[in-house]
């Protein structure tokens, strides 16, 4: 069996604190009872396969991809909002030029998806999808409309709080994150099993964007700040065994 002359230098990404992340199985979220794996995860020391990952460039993004209000002939219905923030690692360092994808319901709480049975109108001027790359300092910005709350079948009279789905790649397979951003003061938040699956209150608050009067643009749009923190790397490399 051939071996390379020396082992690769692996500086792994730090592991997550389970109190700050939702568990796989959370009974109040009914679908997790059907679908969450029951056997314990197997701890895998990161290898070259996990500390590398897909990286996208500007060629994959169109100019209007971060403005969900300009993707059709007319303007969508709803309250125009800016959602802006930074993508950082767990030491506060910016994650530059990384892909962010978002998707959301329209102002009436309806997704443009064939499986969405919510009896609310579609908006011909709103697709509800956007993508962008962070800049050199990790900043990003979306222009969209305030999504509506929508009913779902999880429990009697269940409604999802207003939210925007976020998907981020970061720098490696290990940093991939799919999450949801919620809005400060939404009365549905205390009843939402997805958000409340996260054990620590402080951790749940990290998914709630903050209204920012300074970023709000007069006579045009309300602004919300939402920073996303991805896993960062250990301080020292792991070399050989």
């Amino acid at each position: 069996m051939t071996s390379p002359a020396k082992p690769p230098v692996i500086t792994p990404y730090r592991r997550l604190d389970p109190k700050t992340q939702p568990p796989l199985l959370y009974e109040p979220y009914r679908a997790s009872v059907e679908r969450a794996p029951r056997k314990p995860l197997i701890l895998l020391p990161q290898t070259l396969s996990e500390i590398t990952g897909p990286v996208y460039g500007h060629g994959d993004i169109q100019a209007t991809d971060n403005d969900l209000t300009r993707q059709h002939a007319g303007e969508p219905q709803g309250q125009r909002i800016l959602v802006t923030g930074r993508v950082l690692d767990d030491a506060g360092r910016p994650v530059p030029h990384t892909l962010i994808e978002i998707w959301q319901a329209n102002a009436a709480g309806r997704y443009i998806h064939k499986a969405d049975r919510n009896a609310a109108p579609l908006d011909p001027n709103f697709s509800g999808t956007g993508r962008t790359l962070t800049d050199a300092q990790g900043h990003y910005r979306f222009v969209t409309i305030q999504p509506g709350a929508y009913p779902w079948g999880n429990h009697p009279n269940a409604w999802r709080p207003r939210h925007i789905h976020f998907s981020l790649f970061g720098t490696a397979f290990a940093t991939r994150l799919v999450t949801q951003m919620y809005f400060q003061g939404d009365p549905l938040i205390p009843f939402d099993p997805l958000l409340n699956a996260i054990p620590e209150e402080k951790a749940r608050e990290r998914l709630i964007c903050k209204f920012d009067p300074n970023l709000t643009e007069p006579d045009w749009a309300l602004a919300y700040r939402f920073d996303v923190i991805l896993r960062g790397r250990e301080a020292t490399p792991f070399e050989g065994q």
């Binding site: 071996s3 992340q21 997805l194």
Partner: protein
Amino acid sequence: MDYTPTPSQTVGPFFMIGFAGPLLISHIAAPGVPGERVKLVCTVFAGENQPVNDALIEIWQANAEGKYNHSGDPQEKPVDPSFLGFGRQGTDDLGVCVFHTIKPGRVPANDGSLQAPHLVVGVFTRGVLQRLPTRIYFAGDPANDSDPVLALVPAARRVTLLAQPVPGEPETWRFDVHLTGARETVFFDI
């Protein structure tokens, strides 16, 4: 400042509206990319055999030389800029999605040995609040016996990580993901 990583949430049932377009990738390797061609047919199940029609599968892999198209791979081997090594598909009504790619080469392990050819995989679905990381190895590859990651898995469960060749269909491999049930797939904490 608090820089604790942001919590994960489920991808939900409607992610395809966000991922439709250029970044929904079935052809990981275009025709002409060097390597042994692989058509990978993935099926996602919950319970014993219920197909999951709203799962998302993401794949990351090295090229045929065992080199990743990423700045974090220090190996002095060439990369083909046309081969990123990333694929992403949603499952259909039968729980199936298909990738067209090449079998990756062997990537160094942390102890300097070589890992067996494998793809790293992330499974996302409604009902699961985190990404589920797993790996796809190729049944019958002699390198599997000395792979340090497979060695972490109880012997009886290793089969859940093996793609199987489909009889009578050249270059075609089948990989089943069982979220739950007796044949539950091995998922990793990375």
